[in-house]
Structure formats: C-alpha cells, structure tokens
C-alpha cells in the first residue's frame, strides 16, 4: 500500500525547547489517522511540519514520497490544511472566500465551477453565502473552512481539531463529511482531544505525549492491548 505520510526520527526545537523528540510513524493512503495527545504534546507542531509551515530540526518527512522541505511546493499541491484556530477573510463573503481558494487549484473555468459547487454544497450556508464572513457564527465559519479544505479533494487532508468549539449536531455533521471524503479516497490526518470522535472516525491512531509517540494502532487493537473499555482509558494508561 502507498504511504501517504512517512515520518522518520522527526526532531523539532524551538530555541531551547524540544517540541518533538525523534518521532516516527506512517499513514497509509486512504485511511483516517488520528494524532491524539494532551496540550503541548507536539500534535500541532507535527501537523504544521507536514503542512510545510515549519522547518524541521532533523529527521525526514515525506508526503506521497515528496520531501516536505525540498519539495514543499509539490507537497502543497497535494494537501489541504485546516488549522485549529483558523479563520476566513472577514471582508469577503463566504462565496468570495471559496472562489479565492478555488482559483489556486482550478486550471480552467469548468474545474473552477466544479470546485466551487462542491464548496458551496459542503458549506451549506444558504443565502448567507453572499454575506460577509464577519457576520458568520463560529459554527458557520468552521463549516466554511472545512468546505474550503475538502472542496479541492486533496490527496491528503490535515485537520487540526476539526470539530473544536462546535456544538454536538454540527460536530456530528462534520464527522460525517470527513468519513464520507475518506471513503472517496482522501487520506485524512487529524488531531483531536475528543476520544469519541477519534474512535468513530479513525482507522488508526498514534498517541503522542511530551514530543514522543507512545503507541500506534487501531482503536480496537489498543483497547485490547491495554485491557481498556475505550480509547480514553487507553490514553490514560499509556501515558502513566
């Protein structure tokens, strides 16, 4: 099976602080892979390095066999990144925002239309789509951003806390969208605090703590291994 992500001995330092202490893992094409850990464990740093936003101190990171440092432009063509605290341009309308993003991926008008229609369908903003983003609720903005990330049908979607700050109904809707996209061949790498979400969505997970990978496996495998009722219990036992 093709490797969507390949990380070997990844080390990341911020001045005197070592955020990642030589982590290694792989994500297979078409799977939903979850990165789980407490605050400041190194989740966002890992996602940002894969998304070509941060330089690495040492090690190797490849996305579909392309080096994130040496071939960053090639990697950017294949990925879509949704940061945890992302926002959209407030003076643009939802539609204008989706158009702005679609322009970078569409080679011609018909492709542009296809991407835009997909985005509008996912965003489900109705008449509000022509209103300025500054008038949107947090849930609407998050939906717009997820639509932005998925409408281009990336080979790899990197989602940092995709349902962060959303209500139960909106979160469930977003999970369904992610699952649906993965079934259509999009590889998803996500981070989450929500263990239920992880259990529902992920094919495999990696537990990360203090800049190190503690465990990797399927949720069922890990529950069996740690003799735990759920992933939350696995997580607590694994980091103890």
């Amino acid at each position: 099976m093709t490797k969507a992500i390949e990380i070997k001995n990844l080390l990341k330092d911020y001045d005197n602080f070592r955020a990642l202490k030589g982590i290694s893992f792989e994500v297979r094409e078409g799977e939903i892979f979850g990165l789980i850990g407490p605050n400041a464990a190194g989740k966002t740093t890992t996602l940002r390095i894969i998304a070509t936003l941060l330089q690495l101190t040492s090690g190797e990171v490849k996305v579909f066999n392309h080096d994130v440092i040496k071939e960053s432009e090639k990697v950017r063509e294949m990925i879509s990144y949704l940061p945890e605290e992302a926002g959209a341009y407030k003076n643009l309308s939802g539609r204008e925002y989706l158009e702005f993003i679609a322009q970078f991926y569409a080679e011609d008008k018909s492709k542009m239309e296809k991407i835009l229609n997909k985005g509008l369908e996912l965003a489900k903003l109705g008449e509000k789509v022509t209103d300025k983003v500054s008038t949107y609720s947090k849930g609407m903005t998050r939906r717009l951003l997820l639509a932005r990330a998925l409408m281009i049908e990336p080979k790899l979607a990197i989602l940092d806390e995709p349902t962060s700050g959303l209500d139960v109904i909106m979160s469930q809707e977003i999970r369904k969208i992610i699952k649906d996209f993965a079934q259509h061949g999009v590889t998803v790498l996500l981070s989450s605090h929500n263990m239920l979400e992880v259990e529902f969505l992920c094919d495999r997970i990696a537990l990360i703590n203090n800049g190190e990978i503690v465990e990797i496996g399927t949720p069922t495998q890990l529950e069996r291994e740690y003799n735990a009722k759920n992933i939350e219990e696995v997580f607590i036992k694994a980091i103890e």
């Binding site: 966002t44 950017r76 204008e96």
Partner: protein
C-alpha cells in the same frame, strides 16, 4: 501570474473596506469644508475692501483744511458721519449709538499745526464689540487712507522746500532693481519672492510623497496584522502558490490602496491649501525663466525614486508585520518607520541640502525614505547625480529587503516570530 492576481484582488477587497472609503470621503469633505470657510472669509474681506467704510468724525478744528482732509477721505470710499457733540465722552456715546465702529477726533489748531510744520496728533477710537476679522479690515482701510494723506502732506512740504523736485528722489535717493541668477539664467525678482514661490510650488509634491510612503507601509503592515488576527496566514501559506507571489500580491494590493488614499488625500489637501496661497504676480514666468520647473524627465526620475521607496517601505513593513500579533500591534510597530519618513520631510522643508551639517547629510543619504524628498528638491536645479545615486541606493536596498522578506517567509519566523519587545511564545502543540 494567475496566483499573483488572485492574491492582489483579495488584498484590495480586504483593505479597501467601507469604513476606509467612508473615512477617506470624510477627510476630503473636511478639507473641502475648511477650504470653503477660509475662501468665504477671504471673499468677505475682499468685498468689504470694495465697500464704503463709515467713520464718525469729531472735528474740533472746523477749518477749511480739516474739511479738505475729510473730503479726501470721502473720495477714498470712507463715509464721514460728522458728530456735533462738544465733549469727547458724548461723541463716543453718539458713535456707539449710531452703531459705528470708529471715531476720528481732529484736534483744535489742526490746520495751523500742519501748515506751520509742527505736526499734529489725531485720535482714533475703535468701538470693540468682538474680534471679528471684518473690523480689522475696516480699520486697515481707514489707516491706509490716513497714511496716504500723511504722505501727500509730506510730499507737498518737500516740493515746496526743494522747488518742485520729485519727493521720491529725495526720500529714497538710491533705488534697487533686483535680479536672481540660477545656473547662468537671470530673471528680475528677489530671493524672498523666489523662496516663497518655490515653497508654494513644492508644497504638494513632498506631501504626496510622504502620504503615499506612509500609507503603503500602513497598508502592508495592516494586511499582515489582519492575516494574524483573522488566523488566515497558515491557510494562505499552505496553498499551492509561491511565497514570492504571496509577497508581491500583498505588496501590489497595499501599494494600489495606498496610492489611491494618497491621491484622494492630496486632492482635499490641495483644495484646502489653495485657500491660503497668495498669488505672486508673474511668479510662474520667473520660475520658467530660471528653469526652476520640473520637466517630464524630472517627473520620471521622481516617480522611480518614489516607486523604489514605496517598495522599501512595503518590504520593511512586511518584515515588521511578521512580528505582529494583530492589527493593533502591527500598527504600533510601524511607528519608527513613520518617524524615518517624517524626519527628512520636515528637515528638507526648512533646510537646504547644500547648507546642512555633514552628520545630517549622512543621516538623510542613509535613510532610504529621504531620497524622494531630496529628489523633489534638487531636480529643479538639474542636480541629477544625487538623484541617480539615490535611485541606485534605493534599488539595492529594496532588492535586499525583498530578498530578506522572501527568506523570512520561507522560515518558521512568519508564524512563530513575536515582537522583540515581548516574550517569545512557542507555537501550540
């Protein structure tokens, strides 16, 4: 190119908000309104000069000569209202009652004192109700006429004493005819007039330069602040677009909005300033005779200098913007740049490059924001070497700053850098 244009359009939409358009329109209206007020006041004053001014007169002399003087005043559009009261106190009361502003008291022996060449003293009382400019104008009118009469009396004395000689040749036997020379070109006029003309002519260009450089810096730093504040930068940096396209798209958007703002500002400011400017007779002719006007080539050089300076401002502010957390912190970080732009503007407004100290000259030459101001001053004197050297310096400086901003955009700094005045905060996770 497609990606550059996409970012450029987005920048314009983001920066040119309704609030900004409103504030621009408001600023132009404010300048227009102030200009209108000043123009109205000027017109009122000029109209008043053409109108007749009323003057109450208490004539204690009542001689033929005093009447002749009063007739002279009337010939010069001063309406004489003779007061019959005997005491000064009553005359003042009467003047106030009549609603007149000025009372002139001609003393007894007025004719005798003048004809005897002893000199005399007339008294002028102003009835103060407020400090309106119109009252000053009326008073100046009366004083001017009194001075005229004085001059005529003196001339009569001189003519009588020197057997019909022209009094002007006796009062001012040496006359000066002034010329100014610039680069071997000679024109009639004096240095003060030339300075006043040059000041009035070169007022608008430096302000336009200052505004466009400052606005460009503000726009780009605001744009970076907005990206950070709205949490859109990370998404932008993961799009399949070259960093240089992001930087150039942002810079072009900011420059266009800045130039638009500067032009709108200058239209309003020009209208406001035109209400102050006094026209110098034949001023344009003197400047043209001396070759002190900007040619098309001069404007091209000034344009290149301005373009490169805006590029420097954009790159420097782009780098500063990387350290900002939000719009507010971004704008406060721009303060040192504003100072570097304003200092040369003010120095060159009051001092000439040729007469300033070496230290000040070095500061101006090293400060990239000085060069368009220097160019606007020296180009009319055809001093091209300073301008071309400045353009070369600016090109090197701009290229270096652009290179630096692209380099920084390719590092973690663009996301993790914080203001050097704050504590370094690590990215979350």
């Amino acid at each position: 190119m497609k990606n550059f244009l996409n970012i450029f359009k987005k920048e314009i939409k983001e920066l040119l908000t309704k609030e900004m358009i409103f504030s621009l329109v408001f600023m132009v209206m404010l300048f227009g309104l102030m200009g209108s007020f000043i123009n109205d006041a000027k017109e009122r004053t000029q109209e008043q000069l053409l109108e007749t001014t009323s003057l109450a007169v208490l004539n204690l002399d009542n001689s033929a000569y005093s009447k002749e003087v009063l007739n002279k005043l009337e010939e010069n559009k001063i309406e004489i209202v003779e007061i019959e009261e005997e005491s000064l106190e009553d005359a003042v009361k009467k003047t106030q009652k009549e609603g007149l502003m000025f009372l002139l008291v001609l003393p007894e022996n007025f004719e005798e004192s003048i004809k005897g060449m002893h000199g005399t003293e007339v008294e002028m009382y102003s009835m103060v109700k407020g400090f309106d400019a119109n009252e000053n104008t009326s008073f100046s009118h009366i004083s001017a006429v009194v001075n005229l009469i004085n001059q005529e009396i003196s001339n009569t004395y001189i003519e009588n004493a020197f057997g019909g000689q022209n009094p002007e040749n006796i009062i001012n036997p040496i006359k000066t005819k002034e010329f100014v020379v610039v680069n071997n070109k000679v024109a009639p006029g004096n240095l003060a007039t030339l300075k006043a003309l040059s000041m009035a002519n070169s007022m608008i260009i430096p302000i336009l330069l200052m505004m466009s450089i400052m606005y460009a810096g503000t726009m780009i730093i605001t744009s970076m602040g907005l990206e950070k504040e709205n949490k859109t930068l990370e998404t932008l940096l993961t799009l399949p677009v070259k960093r240089i396209s992001i930087i150039l798209g942002k810079m072009a958007g900011a420059a266009v909005v800045a130039l638009l703002m500067a032009v709108v500002y200058i239209i309003g400011f020009n209208y406001y300033m035109s209400s102050f400017s006094a026209s110098v007779v034949d001023g344009e002719n003197i400047m043209q005779t001396l070759g002190l006007t900007m040619t098309f080539f001069d404007y091209i050089l000034l344009g290149i200098s301005l373009f490169l300076t805006i590029l420097v401002a954009l790159s420097v502010c782009m780098i500063l913007g990387m350290f900002a957390q939000d719009v507010k912190s971004a704008q406060s970080m721009q303060f040192p740049i504003i100072l570097l732009i304003m200092i040369p503007y003010f120095i060159l407004m009051f001092q000439d490059l040729g007469t300033m100290s070496i230290g000040l000259k070095i500061f101006l030459y090293l400060n990239p924001f000085s060069h368009p101001f220097i160019a606007s001053k020296v180009l009319i004197f055809d001093n091209y070497s300073i301008v071309i050297a400045g353009i070369v310096y600016l090109a090197v400086f701009a290229a270096f700053m652009m290179y630096l901003s692209v380099k920084l955009f390719n590092t973690d700094k663009v996301l993790t850098a914080k203001s050097p005045f704050g504590k370094l905060k690590l990215s979350k996770g």
